[in-house]
């Protein structure tokens, strides 16, 4: 039987751009170019490798995000994923992690899955908790923060490098996996891949397709509220010296003045 893999990918504002908040204190997604969260490329890569090892597999990439989020899906398709699902709805504006995970859970169930693969964290919200919440909502094992992953005989195994120990994990499918940037470089889309991606199916679903009430998501439905967002004051210009042979001593003087020595 075919292994059904769903990869959750997020469309995020470019971290090297001037990221900021809009007036309603949500992320301004218009002013900064968006892209596929770089950490989700690792998830796509692992999906491709797992699919290669399987007898038969189908990879669906899934995103919840605005119109432009299709770009993220195209990138994943050009890397080699088979098809894509885009959940898009005006009422999704301002959704927090509880809402996002609800939408992803419903969409994953509708697609049908044996394995869900996520990145370790998005490069904007950076919470790093969505995969665990998704597993909780779906009622399946979480096998998260893996630096190595493989799937065999209906089981997923992997290595999780924690603070105090490195653990070898194992769970039966279906399961939710997240992979770190230690899992292996993501491939670049080939020209052939980019051309092929143009013909691959991208479905668009809205909240109604997923039978989700508008008030369960969006800014109104969020369980958290951003009260204010302030740009961090620019650091006052520090002292910069050129080493003319005494740089280390000068630095020591500074550190002593700050009572670090």
């Amino acid at each position: 039987m075919s292994l059904r893999i769903v990869v959750c990918v997020k469309y995020v504002p470019d971290a090297t751009g001037d990221r900021h908040f809009a007036e309603d204190l949500t992320v301004d997604r218009d002013d900064v170019d968006g892209l596929l969260s770089e950490l989700d490329e690792y998830a796509v890569e692992q999906a491709l490798q797992i699919a290669d090892e399987a007898d038969e597999a189908e990879i669906t990439v899934l995103t919840v995000g605005p119109e432009d989020a299709k770009d993220a899906l195209r990138k994943a398709l050009s890397m080699g994923a088979d098809k894509a699902v885009h959940v898009e709805d005006d009422d999704l504006h301002g959704t927090d992690v509880m809402g996002t995970s609800l939408v992803l859970a419903k969409a994953v169930e509708k697609i049908g899955y044996d394995l869900v693969i996520c990145g370790m964290a998005s490069t904007d919200g950076n919470m790093g908790v969505l995969p665990a919440i998704l597993a909780e909502r779906l009622g399946v094992p979480q096998v998260t923060l893996l630096s190595e992953v493989s799937v065999e005989d209906g089981r997923v195994t992997g290595r999780r490098d924690g603070d105090t120990a490195s653990e070898q994990l194992e769970a039966a499918l279906p399961a939710v996996v997240s992979v770190t940037d230690q899992s292996g470089e993501a491939r670049y889309p080939s020209f052939k891949g980019i051309m092929a991606a143009k013909k691959k199916p991208v479905e668009s679903w809205d909240l109604e397709d997923l039978e989700i009430d508008a008030d369960a998501v969006g800014l109104e439905g969020a369980w958290t509220k951003v009260e204010d967002a302030k740009e961090r004051p620019a650091r006052t210009a520090g002292t910069i010296v050129k080493d003319e042979g005494e740089g280390g001593k000068q630095l020591a003087e500074f550190l002593a003045g700050q009572k670090f020595i």
Partner: protein, 320 residues
């Protein structure tokens, strides 16, 4: 007074510093009730009481070590039922965040991760977050359920505040999902003898400029002279010069020490994401245009192989 649940991060009863910081922050909101899971509760109870825990709820079972995350969620959920707290606080470790997240969905509560400060507000705790690689500071509240908040290390100075700390056994029944993800084996990390990276008051990091594993002792010697932890950029880690556990940045550790010294690190946005909240920042880099200099309190434009050893000698001399 209202009670606040505080999840205890510990190694066999040795309570880690971020938990003591949490107890300090928890006292701004209510009376801390500590939840200690696994072995070593007796050893931990004294320390927790000393730092303000009015009660210590404990449970031990093989499930906590043999299966990933979920058994601990079951246990904290049991503590939540027993106490009816006004907030639940976790340290922002990978595991702490995942337990917090699953608990939050289960109890129908909003979740805030990686807070760097916490105050009492009119409608519950207000959490400060440092976002977009620390370019913005936000203040957020939870509007539904009992706020579940994870807090980064070094967000508060630990204060002692002796309290009763009465130890109580927690009844936990594990759900079906608890045994879903088996921990087949565990290899403990070897201790370096240096302070824990995320908790250290001083961090000295090396980057691509260190130019080889064989040169990292230059960084280590400076760290040791200052009693600091050693960090590394991803470039240094990817090149195999230093272990990934030392990586500072978006996909490595996020640190917030009193003093951060970056040697041979350019200051890419992903590196800044993990160190920009450091109180004092110092950089040594031979390129005067390196972006790291935009952040520094003190910078030396120069070759790290000249500057760092000279600094190390100076520190040693001054410390006598």
């Amino acid at each position: 007074m209202a009670e606040v649940l505080v999840y205890v991060d510990h190694v066999d009863g040795a309570v880690r510093k971020p938990t003591l910081e949490l107890l300090t922050l928890a006292r701004r909101i209510g009376d801390p009730v500590a939840v200690h899971l696994g072995a070593g509760a007796d050893a931990a109870a004294g320390v927790l009481a000393e730092h303000g825990a009015v009660k210590v709820l404990t449970a031990d079972a093989p499930e906590f070590a043999d299966y990933l995350v979920v058994p601990k969620v079951d246990a904290v959920a049991a503590a939540y039922q027993a106490v009816s707290p006004v907030a639940v606080l976790f340290p922002s470790s990978a595991e702490g965040k995942e337990i917090a997240a699953r608990l939050a969905v289960r109890i129908g509560s909003g979740l805030i991760t990686d807070a760097v400060d916490l105050e009492a507000g009119d409608e519950g705790p207000v959490a400060t977050q440092s976002v977009f690689a620390a370019a913005f500071t936000t203040r957020s509240t939870v509007t539904k359920g009992t706020p579940v908040i994870t807090v980064k290390p070094n967000s508060a100075a630990v204060e002692a505040a002796p309290a009763a700390g009465a130890v109580e056994q927690l009844e936990v029944s594990f759900g079906e999902l608890a045994t879903g993800t088996k921990v087949v084996s565990r290899t403990p990390r070897e201790s370096t003898g240096r302070p824990e990276l995320t908790e250290a008051a001083i961090v000295v990091s090396g980057g691509r400029g260190v130019n080889g594993a064989e040169n990292f002792p230059v960084i280590e010697a400076l760290a040791d002279s200052l009693g600091a932890a050693v960090g590394a950029s991803r470039a240094a880690v990817d090149a195999g010069w230093y272990p990934h556990t030392a990586q500072v940045g978006q996909t490595g550790k996020s640190v917030s020490p009193q003093l951060y010294i970056a040697a041979g690190i350019s200051g890419a946005i992903q590196h800044r994401a993990g160190m920009q909240t450091s109180k004092t920042i110092v950089a040594i880099n031979k390129d005067a245009e390196a972006p790291i200099f935009e952040l520094v309190d003190y910078g030396v434009v120069g070759d790290l192989f000249d500057v760092v050893p000279q600094l190390t000698e100076e520190v040693k001399a001054r410390k006598g």
